[in-house]
Amino acid sequence: MTATLPTAVGAPLARLEGPEKVTGTAKYAAEYRTGEVAYGWVVQSPVPRGRLNAVLADPAADTLAVLWHGNAPRLKSGDDPELDVLQSDRISYRGQAVALVVAGTLEAARRAAQELRLDITTEEHDALLRTDHPGLYTPERVNPAFPAETSSGDVDTALAAAAVAVDVTYRTPALHNNPMEPHATIARWQDGDLELHDSNQHPSGVAATVGALFGLPPERVHVITEHVGGGFGSKGTARPNAVLAALGAKVVGRPVKVVLPRQAMFSMVGHRTPTIQRIRLGAEPDGTLTAIDHQATEQTSRLFEFAEQTTVVTRHMYAAPNRRTGHRLARLDMPTPRWMRAPGEAPGMVGLECALDELAERLGIDPIELRVRNEPAVEPETGVPFTSRHYVECLRAGAERFGWAGRDPRPRQRRDGDWWIGTGMAGATYPTMAQPSTARVRALADGAFEVAIGATDLGTGARTILTQIAADALAVPVERIRIRIGDSTLPKASVAGGSSGSASWGWAVTGACRELRASGRDEATFDSSELVQHQEKDGRHAFGAHFAEVRVDAVTGEVRVSRLFGMFAAGRILNPRTARSQLLGGMIMGMGMALHEEGVLDPAMGEWVNHDLAEYHIPVHADVEDIDAAWLDEHDDRINPMGSKGIGEIGIVGSPAAIVNAVWHATGIRVRDLPVRLDKLLSLLP
């Protein structure tokens, strides 16, 4: 063996595509030269519910085609009704694609789309989520396949008997993924086959989905996704832009490019559902939890059911003999919610971790100590063991690094000039998942190895990490690995989602490399399906703890995060350089969730009216001050060959609650309706 070779995994290897990204030569979906490309501009419904009777185009307009359900090619219906674009007169939400204008220039397409007249019969709509919505129902399952409700013991009796109880309702608004690269596709038909340069998190999935709509087997759809400008869940499946581009290209006989305008990304590509969460906790005076009840009300659309797993996280966090979780949905005339970074966990941990902070206050117990006292030995609901769980260690080590000791638990005690100052903390967790994938390794004539897998790198570092994994599995330096990803014709990989990319793809890559060495052949392909499907059922989760120091301006109520620190236990960290960046990125998105981000609903319009980046605020440079992330050296050889747990999402889980709790500590004000903006604080400040 090559005992002298340092392992590549665990080294801070710089991103392989870095030079291309910093010099502007990395190509994203809309940036390929593909012959005489025409431009498609999507026309969106200006009403939330109704029927489109006719589309009236100016005959003098400089267009190649105007497609709508009255003339668009017929698609075969798939399992995502939102992709059956231009197939029906039914309008299910404001912003839905109702027509596509194709023209020779971007400028002509955009103007023709603006001038298109739509003959619509408008119907009454319902856009407002509320806990007394008459249509609320309990879904059969919540995403991806969890029971919607769980219950054990007698929660009501325990709450009634509890020495101390809290009963609070937290609300989180609609949130919008907003990757910097808009959803974009260039579609080209050649001899009946379809080529898509498309921005997505799953090239083979997009090939299969779009192919099915056009009656093509996946191998006749070639999806190229070399670089992706972020996705955060919103590019997990094909989005309407891919179907629209393919439709347009079919009709005009030229490649067609469709780039969604930023404004359309607030309706057509998914969002995180608003949630209304009622949390009830009962405890003994010493802090021992006797009851946990976490109920979420959230929305889905008329088109199909999407059930965010908001309270599932509560099933894994703390011990309590009496416990209940549940979800209720309302079908609204609004866009369908989709995945956004840590779906379920991110909003759910706002409710749970803020409620715990309130309980700690009532009990007069330090919030860290309260969590430690309720640490379960096994999965609290199922009783199965954890493969590894170092939550308490994260709390302790994080507190040490942050300087928690000696904190005055009373709120509104620290003042520096105009600023009220406070600190807060919250726990973090995210499930450790892996999905079947296939990788192929080839020994090349020059001594290098080509590693191929249809994965994508959304900025996660996947390209780099898979290279490191392959190098170690082949016992060669990373320079001898040539990684190929981002193409549906490569061996089939799972979606870049659920913080499962490195585990899923790394598993397949490791398998292929091991097989190559064992077989002595020049090429090996490995499909991880069987191994992944036979994983043991023990609880597999990453854990962490967030610590925040905020200051609140006594004059204006403006909140700033002076310090944010996250301590994580996420198995083996494959690349500390990219890992730290990704964890910080999640925490910063969590800051946005706590303080800035909100789809502002106008119920009468049936729309989030702040649909651009000037009005939907995501954190800017100036919002991010002293921030850091660290991790424990956690070993878990029961989860996958790398021992890695996935870090793409845990950064956004818990960081919002830590900030909201710190705002309370600074001001004495509990804001239970995110985001925490100045108008919610100002009148309550002393």
């Binding site: 103007r111 004059v555 204006t556 403006e558 009468a604 000037a614 009005e615 100045l678 108008d679």
Partner: protein, 324 residues
């Protein structure tokens, strides 16, 4: 964006076709053209005119050319020294890139950020007169508490204009009828029943310069802005002020509010209350309250009353402290 003819203005008083508009930095106009909210047939580019100078006036004031870029104006040593409130207001707005593009005239003439105005598919009395104002019942968290009407509660989004209002700046205008001057506080109209007209300018009239009259005590002036994130966000409330204190008593004060009205709101009532009063936080709060008596908040924007009162007290208290 509707197609248009492009021309360069050869002199500032060039007449304008009915559907023509002036183009300067483009940061607001090109944005609105893409949205289909602004649909000029002719664009007259004024950036080639010799209007980009900043010159001192014999009386100690400063003349700012209409096409002086926001970043140049904010960095100008005479402005930083003599009128810090203006430099601070400019730097509180937008981003480095936008300040490099936006001009003095264009900044004054930028249109509201009201979300209904900026969406051509929605009703709005400002972009489509007579279609109604959904903001009153809908989203108005950042709309007007002062000066609004049933027809429109838009706020003027400029930071710069708030400082200019406090400084008593005068806008120089050139048009078919010749040159005239308009105090910056009279430039913007209140909406009344005709919110589609933002300003008193006649079609074809163009801003050529903004004059800052001499105001020696403006060396002690400041701008403070509250917003929803730390930078690169429009104000939810702002205050521009200059203060002259003599022996603990307010001799003269200039005060203007931003993000509360369809125009930069010169707080003349508050100024009147303050003259001759002790320069204390109590006086400043009372003065703000006197001005804000006229406020008519909607469901979700009453917080602006607290915000403006607090900002006024904080800014003036600080200026009074510097005077000691």
């Amino acid at each position: 964006m509707k197609t248009f003819d492009y021309r360069t203005a050869d002199r500032s008083s060039a007449g304008l076709a009915p559907e023509a508009m002036f183009l300067a930095g483009g940061t607001n106009l090109v944005d609105l053209m893409k949205l289909g909210v602004a649909t000029p047939d002719v664009l007259v580019d004024v950036t080639k005119l010799p209007l980009d100078g900043i010159t001192e006036r014999p009386d100690g004031g400063v003349r700012i050319g209409a096409t002086v870029r926001n970043s140049d104006l904010a960095a100008d040593p005479r402005i930083r020294r003599g009128f810090p409130v203006l430099s601070q207001a400019l730097l509180a707005g937008a981003s480095g890139q936008l300040r490099n593009m936006a001009t003095t005239g264009g900044n004054l003439l930028q249109r509201t950020r009201c979300r209904y105005f900026m969406d051509a598919t929605k009703p709005c009395n400002k972009h489509a007169p007579g279609t109604g104002c959904p903001a009153r019942e809908g989203d108005h968290r950042n709309l007007a508490i002062l000066g609004g009407s049933e027809a429109c509660v838009a706020t003027h989004p400029s930071d710069m204009a708030v400082a200019l209002a406090a400084l008593g700046a005068v806008v120089r205008v050139d048009g078919a009828a010749g040159e005239r001057t308009v105090p910056v506080t009279d430039l913007h109209r209140l909406p009344g029943d005709t919110p589609q007209r933002d300003t008193v300018l006649e079609h074809g009239e163009m801003i050529t310069a903004v004059d800052l009259p001499a105001l020696p005590f403006a060396t002690r002036s400041a701008y403070r802005k509250a917003r929803d994130r730390a930078s690169y966000a429009f104000a939810v409330g702002s205050v521009a002020a200059a203060l002259d204190v003599d022996d603990g008593v307010v001799r003269e004060v200039r005060l203007a509010f931003g993000a509360v009205a369809p125009k930069p709101w010169r707080a003349t009532v508050a100024e009147e209350v303050l003259r001759g009063r002790p320069a204390t936080e109590e006086s400043f709060r009372a003065a703000a309250d006197a001005e804000l008596e006229a406020a008519r908040p909607l469901r979700d924007n009453a917080y602006k009353i607290d915000l403006i009162r607090n900002l006024t007290a904080a800014v003036l208290t600080r200026l009074a402290g510097e005077a000691r």
